[in-house]
Symmetry: C2
Subunit: 205 residues, 2 copies
């Protein structure tokens, strides 16, 4: 199907590859704009203009700005989930996987997502909020599964693995503190320091 | 001096007790409104209406909305600093002080301040941002001083105490996750769990 889409399409035909790539372009552009200017300010027109598609084309793929926002947020979160899975599965030791993951997440601070959500929440419906929170929760589930395994292997003490996943994720917000981060040499050094606190605490053993 | 203030006051006379209490009322009201609606949305008129003072009275105390915002934010942060000092100084053991402090901060999530700052920053001048960030930094300095002492007493391992202060503060953001917090019995239980991770890590010793 060509990029030009009939203006008022009622029934949606089966999506072609081209449709999917347009959809991904819209999602990517929307993510970038929402991150920079926040949910409320960004218009569908602005998104369309930036990625070179018409507003009707956006409406062909997304019923509303809120739907597009949901798609943008869940896509970002699914990417974080994929990276989390891959890094923890490929690492020889959990510690190495956590450091790699921390380095990646500190470089791409998640706090922006939290800020966007707080701003957008009053303007979204319950279903949008739920879908986004669920995508976030799935990242924690991946972490929690690895932490649970570490407990079974007597590497971690017994604790609610989901609580530990949330504690680890929260520590990743240190990446938002750009004004403070100048002090630390690099994301890698900061990642090592944070994972060290998470694994061993600060008490002298 | 009565609450009614001349409309165009040029020189500011020495502040009376009444002036100070009006100023505090304005700051308190502004904090509440900024927290609820964000910096951009809230008007000085709205703040004045809510605390029963005229817009000129607000201008008698604060040169601009940005100045009032700065006063509101630094006042909140100075309170957190005071609580931090008091709790850590009065506690018999650092661990108890940290749990008490965590409990207080989880109940009053700091994340709102971060969200407000991100929204307001593009609309503020460098001096405002600097004053607010400095008030925040002072909380970390208090924490860092106690952590440094713990290192000198061989309780904590050697680490940049300011980094540890920021890690501890970041963990307090778990209080923002109201949607997840239902799982944990109370702020006290959550505070204990977080301080346990911070002090001892998750590795089985």
């Amino acid at each position: 199907m060509p990029a030009q889409v009939p203006k008022r399409l009622r029934g949606r035909p089966k999506q072609t590859d081209n449709d999917i790539s347009i959809q991904q372009t819209i999602i990517y552009t929307a993510s970038t704009l929402f991150k920079e200017f926040g949910y409320e300010t960004v218009t569908l027109q602005q998104i369309g203009k930036k990625c070179g598609v018409s507003k009707p084309t956006i409406y062909y793929h997304f019923a509303s700005k809120a739907d597009l926002f949901q798609a943008a947020m869940t896509t970002m979160l699914q990417n974080v989930k994929k990276i989390t899975s891959r890094m923890l599965e490929e690492a020889e030791h959990l510690q190495d996987g956590l450091i790699q993951l921390a380095e990646a997440r500190l470089a791409n601070p998640h706090g922006q997502i939290e800020t966007m959500m707080r701003e957008a929440e009053p303007l979204l419906e319950e279903t949008h909020i739920h879908a986004i929170r669920d995508a976030e929760h799935q990242i924690h589930e991946v972490l929690a599964a690895h932490f649970k395994l570490a407990m079974e292997q007597q590497m971690f003490r017994e604790e609610d693995p989901l609580f530990l996943a949330e504690a680890f994720s929260t520590l990743m917000l240190m990446g938002n503190r750009e004004h403070d981060m100048k002090k630390f040499e690099s994301h890698h050094v900061l990642a090592e320091k944070i994972v060290h606190v998470f694994l061993n605490g600060v008490t002298l053993s």
